[in-house]
Amino acid sequence: MNANAIATAEPLLRVTGLTKNFVIGGGLLARAPDVVHAVDNVSFAIWRGETLGLVGESGSGKSTTGRCVLRLIEPTAGKILFENSDVVQLNSDALRALRRDIQIIFQDPFASLNPRMTVGAIIGEALTIHKLARKRREFTERVVELLEIVGLQSDHMRRYPHEFSGGQRQRIGIARALAVEPKLIVCDEPVSALDVSIQAQVINLLEDLQQKFGLAYLFIAHDLSVVQHISRRVAVMYLGRIVEIASAHDLYASPKHPYTEALLSAVPVTDPEARRQRIVLQGEVPSPMHPPTGCHFHTRCPIRKLPLCSSEIPQLKETSNGHMVACHLRS
């Protein structure tokens, strides 16, 4: 698919102004409850068959964003249009139907599989729920097919999750997501719990499946090199907001936001000859309970201009073809 075709086609998923606040504490005798601004006015779109990478450090709101897309977490505000129906407005029946189209793969392959169910039952559960297999034989055939698609064997269906290694469990999680033939899979840190040699196996599998089934991925990860490898476009989050979004090539070759620059320069490179000049950010990510005013990044930003950056929220603006940046000084 070339870039122009994508730009003109309707996106599969369009998220507009997504906001999620978590209220902490409260209750009758407590003081005023604290509010965590996990996701703050986030907008992005994903087209059919493409991968959008979502990167950021812990607490940036990337996982919450991913879960809001499936409504595993109820958004506080915003619109999530999937094939032109608003996910936020769906009733429970319609929501169940939606989950045939959007699936999720979780980070922890140990915690996301029920230890008391056989692999066959785990993968096949969705087939039963969505009435995709009428007969016993159909069910078994489909489970075997799914196991083979993800590189496992048919006799694995009678075994339990503890009998598998981390990489194999992640394959089981992928087979479970594929069972309902989804159009979009939210991959929430799918390889960060795996060893590097196994990580490459799973990334290659995800790429093969995308080719084969025309899947779109929202690929959430903190590992910038993995995201660069798998994504067509990448969005960078900081404290609940998207600060930059661009094609993977543009973002890594010429980052515009000072946070993206610092993030990229912090990644250790596997080339001792290229020990680079790092931009080491001072301080740590502020608490999302009391995020800094204006641009959230201004407290750590090496190029900030006060009082502009501490008083006004920078909007995402297009600087060049498809490259959007939220920075007063760089957009």
């Binding site: 090539h249 890594y252 912090a266 990644v267 490179v269 000859e273 740590e284």
Partner: protein
């Protein structure tokens, strides 16, 4: 840097075997490991989960629970003296004072019911006869050294009042408080975000140039090793399979496992070219209960021949300072 690496190594691990008795049999977690670290040298020990890198480090400080663990063979020569037969109280004099350790998980390696100042002071008072006041003053100095702002106040805070990166700074302050000659850092940045990881790696370098201690850096991240170590030891399934100066190892990895490990990582600095497929290593790490009889990597190795499955290949020198355990080497 090279000139302070003297001929006699500071730490010389020879033929170390640490095994664990389990219900299923003997797990050969470390099975014949040789690692030498010179004065002031930073050695990276890399490998995937279960390769024995942490057990090797824990064996050096004898922090292995015995039983079920046991050092069945080998020597751990610390400045020429074997640590393996040492009794508990003799070992206590080596720990922290001569060899200190920083753990992966800064949340669980600090005691939640004591202030960080009390914990740093405890280490100092255990090894030096100084007053409580003096030890606390030293704790403040150490916190300042690891760039914790407002150390006079923070010294009275509890671990939960620090963030992950700050806790790791506290751990480093504690480890360096008795001026050790060797710092063992076990995955010191794995639990941290990349920007905080960069801060901690920079801090370790700074502390090193200040105190001149040697560092044994245990990690699974090849990038971290490439940026900080002078020499690298690669472990696989309880054995050292390759060892070389860092530039050599990354430019010319000789063992198929090392090659696979380097190639299976997507690289951020070569993103300009067309996207290539990652070179995955097929299969999984063997069980250490019944490791394969020959080369332990043979079942996953694309070059494996009949001879590889018969006897484990010895670690042999292919170039000055570059040793490989592979018949093809």
């Amino acid at each position: 840097m090279q000139e302070n690496v003297t001929a006699a190594p500071l730490l010389d691990i020879r033929g170390l075997k640490t095994h664990f008795a389990t219900d299923d049999g003997m797990v050969r977690a470390v099975d014949g490991v040789d690692i030498a670290i010179g004065r002031g040298e930073t050695v990276g020990v890399v490998g995937e989960s279960g390769c024995g890198k942490t057990v090797t480090a824990m064996s050096v400080l004898k922090l292995i629970a015995m039983p079920p663990g046991r050092i069945v063979e080998g020597q751990i020569l610390w400045q020429g003296r074997d640590l393996v037969p040492l009794a508990g109280d003799e070992m206590d004099r080596v720990r922290a004072k001569e060899i200190a350790m920083v753990f992966q998980e800064p949340m669980t390696s600090l005691n939640p019911v004591y202030t960080v100042g009390e914990q740093i002071a405890e280490v100092i008072r255990r090894h030096e006869s100084v007053s409580r006041r003096a030890a606390m003053d030293r704790a403040v100095q150490m916190l300042r050294l690891v760039q914790i702002s407002n150390p006079e106040r923070r010294v009275h805070d509890y671990p939960h009042q620090f963030s992950g990166g700050m806790r790791q700074r506290v751990m480093i302050a504690m480890a360096l408080s008795c001026d050790p000659q060797l710092l063992i850092a076990d995955e010191p940045t794995t639990a941290l975000d990349v920007t905080i990881q960069a801060q901690i790696l920079e801090l370790l370098q700074e502390m090193k140039s200040r105190f001149g201690m040697a560092i044994m850096l245990i990690t699974h991240a090849m990038g971290v090793v490439a940026e900080t170590a002078q020499r690298v030891v690669v472990m696989y399934a309880g054995k050292v399979i390759e060892e070389a100066p860092v530039a050599r190892l990354f430019a010319n990895p000789r063992h198929p496992y090392t090659q696979g490990l380097i190639r299976s990582i997507p690289r951020i600095d070569t993103g300009d070219g067309p996207k290539t497929r990652l070179e995955a290593i097929p299969g999984t790490v063997p069980s250490l209960l019944t490791p394969p009889p020959g080369c332990r990597f043979a079942p996953r190795c694309r070059y494996a021949m009949a001879i590889c499955r018969e006897a484990p290949p010895p670690l042999r020198e292919v170039e000055a300072g570059h040793r490989v355990a592979c018949v093809l080497g």
